[in-house]
Amino acid sequence: MVRALFGFALVLLSGCTTVVIDEYRRSDGELAKGDSVVILGRRHSSDYETEPDLIDCVGKQLHNPDAGLNIIPEQQFVDAMYPWFEPRTAPMHLRSLDRVMKNDELRQRLEAYGVKYIIWIDGSTETTASAGSIGCSIGTGGAGCFGFGTWDKESDYEASVWDFRDQELSGKLSADAKGTSYMPAIVVPIPLIARVQNNACKGMALQLQEFLLPSQTTKQKS
């Protein structure tokens, strides 16, 4: 009962978010037993960085060994392949994978991991606007805050799915999410936070699951 009330309060106390997912699919996912998928963030841009916690979130949402979807954690993979998947050395295009394949030890290690798909996620979540002000004061009679604050956040991510074995682009998808958070303060500040990045993560993970396990998603729908 308490849990239900707490959940209901959380729903009421969160800001609104809209998520738009676009997809371009060249082929359906073909994962055999023992195959694995790695999700990596692009970090080559100088003015933003794909957040490691978003990559972690998408990976955790997708990881389901029972369904045949084995996700290798980003840091584990990047460490095991050092220094070939660092921000400045990672292959930017599919044709750059040839360079990876020429390195025998690296190729063997990738094969040992059973890598079938490499998913690159590029983008970030930013605060685009903010307004309002909150003032807090403390005195002998007590303390309190008064005011109102609001801020908008936008997530813009693009995921490219590379088929490592066939060395081809299997598909691309983008997730755009927007949300406004509010913080009214009448003695106590009450944050109504829009979980923009988290919703972008969930939307993208769901779409990637549909792509990687098309048969299971169809079964679930029927």
Binding site: D47, Y48, E49, M81, Y82, P83, E86, R88, E105, L106
Partner: protein, 229 residues
């Protein structure tokens, strides 16, 4: 009298502690302790001596300018780990040198000595971009066993990390430095054989190895002349 002295002493202690606290409020200390993975790939066929000077192993960047707080960033231990790990897997054999040029082992074919030339960093407040950035520049020197310079080249490393909720500036900066050090290791590993002088040295070494594998004409003749009983 003794009580008055004690009181004076405790007052002085309190004043000193308050002064240290006030001074410490504007001073930041960052200790970078990174562990780095071994590079994956073929090794160069050389026996290399690696000399990491005391200044390099205990390197601390100090900055105290007018428009910034005081910063003391200690990267010595992390960069020692990085160079030991990366250089240790780059060559057929790597020998750490406690001193240089004295007592150089006879089988060393090349000595590598890195030096920190520069370290710079920026904060989100300064750039209005929501990331911490770090640049590190290393001067790399390679010497022949007789002490002659073989090659000198520069490694520029860059690291950044986004600001994170509930993370201190010190922690964010340490993370950005670790990313920069990984980048330095990647550039060292992938760029070593692209330095012209080292490329020539490696080509000569490979040629010498391949010639050793081919039997000489006298060896072949003696093998043919050997009577079969």
């Amino acid at each position: 009298m003794a009580n008055r002295q004690k009181g004076f002493l405790s007052m002085m202690r309190l004043a000193a502690a308050s002064a240290a606290l006030l001074l410490g409020a504007c001073s930041h200390t960052v200790q970078v302790d990174g562990e780095f993975p071994q590079p994956v790939g073929p090794q160069h066929p050389l026996t290399v001596g690696v000399y990491l000077s005391e200044g390099f192993r205990e390197f601390t960047y100090h900055e105290d300018s007018e428009d910034r707080d005081e910063w003391n960033i200690s990267t010595g231990r992390a960069q020692e780990n990085l160079f030991e790990t990366v250089l240790g897997s780059m060559f057929a054999e790597t020998i750490p040198l406690g001193q240089y040029p004295a007592n150089l082992p006879s089988d060393v074919e090349l000595v590598i000595v890195p030096e920190v030339r520069e370290l710079q960093f920026t904060m989100p407040r300064e750039t209005r971009v929501n990331i911490f950035e770090v640049w590190i520049k290393y001067d790399m020197h390679a010497y022949a066993p007789n002490g002659d310079s073989v090659a000198s080249w520069v490694i520029t490393a860059y690291g950044k990390t986004p600001t994170a909720f509930l993370k201190s500036r010190e922690a964010a900066l340490a993370q950005a430095i670790n990313v920069a050090l990984r980048d330095a290791g990647a550039t060292l590993y992938t760029g070593f054989a692209k330095v012209p002088e080292l490329q020539a040295l490696l080509a000569d070494k490979r040629r010498a190895i391949s010639l050793e594998k081919i039997p000489s004409p006298t060896d072949t003749a003696s093998a043919v002349d050997t009577p079969v009983e």
